[in-house]
């Protein structure tokens, strides 16, 4: 049994909105899973440092594990299973389209696993009291060899995967990604001096690196969504 609508298939709409919906669920679910994994890692790290497990912490960890399982099942049920199902009609073109979708799902899954792995390792082995988000850099501390390993994973996640992704997609989706990267780049070029001037005028705290990174990332996602829905 598949979730393909026969009437839509006959009208040439086999994988229209449902496919986009599945990808959205997959991406959103992946982000929630990474967040839950990071939360669990943080709790486990705190419990190890304290040397004891309070019932409240165990309950929270149980809830996080249940949430993880629920979200994981939801992503499988609504995002992955439908995409991995055989198409209603099996022409050579549809088979190639299905292969393309499987490759893209594999790409998204790999990116999710890589992101989760980085978050998990950082959460478990973090030795300092610093905050990446607050710009408290002096107190950040990781074992040196682990930091080098994380560098390798980050290069994989932020350099190799995006470049590989560009090779996988067609002109249409590449155009969306060009717009997304342009949006991120322009926002940083404009955002940093604007932030600096606002700081000088006493309106904001001083610019810090994670803030600039966040501006780039959020702008990139917003630009991509604009391109995806408007173009």
């Amino acid at each position: 049994m598949t979730n393909i609508d026969e009437r839509r298939a006959e009208a040439g709409m086999t994988e229209g909105l449902p496919m986009f919906g599945r990808v959205a669920i997959g991406v959103l679910g992946g982000l929630v899973l990474v967040f839950l994994a990071g939360t669990a890692a943080g709790y486990v790290g705190a419990m190890i440092e304290e040397g004891s497990a309070a019932p409240r912490d165990a309950a929270i960890l149980g809830a996080v594990a249940l949430g993880f399982a629920g979200i994981g099942y939801g992503v499988w049920r609504f995002a992955l299973r439908g995409a991995l199902a055989e198409p209603a009609s099996g022409g050579p073109g549809e088979r190639r389209t299905l292969q393309r979708q499987r490759r893209q799902m594999g790409y998204i899954a790999l990116a999710g696993v890589l992101g989760g792995l980085i978050g998990l390792i950082t959460g478990i082995f973090d030795q300092g009291d610093g905050s990446l988000f607050g710009g408290d850099w002096e107190s950040l501390k990781l074992p040196p060899m682990l930091a080098l390993g994380l560098v390798v994973l980050l290069i994989g996640g932020f350099v190799v995967l995006p470049l590989w992704g560009f090779r996988m997609i067609d002109d249409y989706k590449r155009e969306h990604n060009y717009i997304a990267f342009t949006g991120g780049c322009v926002s940083v070029l404009g955002g940093y001096p604007i932030w600096a001037v606002l700081y000088a005028g006493g309106f904001t705290p001083p610019p810090h690196a994670f803030g600039i990174f966040a501006i780039a990332y959020v702008s990139m996602i917003a630009s991509f969504l604009y391109a995806r829905w408007r173009l």
């Binding site: 229209g16 073109g93 088979r95 299905l98 249409y172």
Partner: protein, 64 residues
């Protein structure tokens, strides 16, 4: 730019996914070309012309 892609596809009773696979592009790209939201690159336009065994100008029309 207008095109006859949807008509040509319908004549062959192909779904968008079928045409996308034959052109080695995503189904969303086929949909965007059919609805006039996206103009294909020249290499893709040639692939489309070869697939339907038609000259490019019989598939794509300049609106001016």
């Amino acid at each position: 730019m207008k095109n006859r892609l949807k008509v040509l596809r319908a004549e062959r009773d192909w779904s968008q996914a079928e045409l996308a696979g034959r052109l080695d592009v995503s189904r969303q790209a086929v949909n965007a070309i059919e609805t006039g939201k996206h103009d294909p690159s020249l290499p893709l336009a040639f692939r489309i012309a070869r697939l339907f065994d038609l000259p490019i100008e019989e598939i794509f029309h300049d609106e001016h």
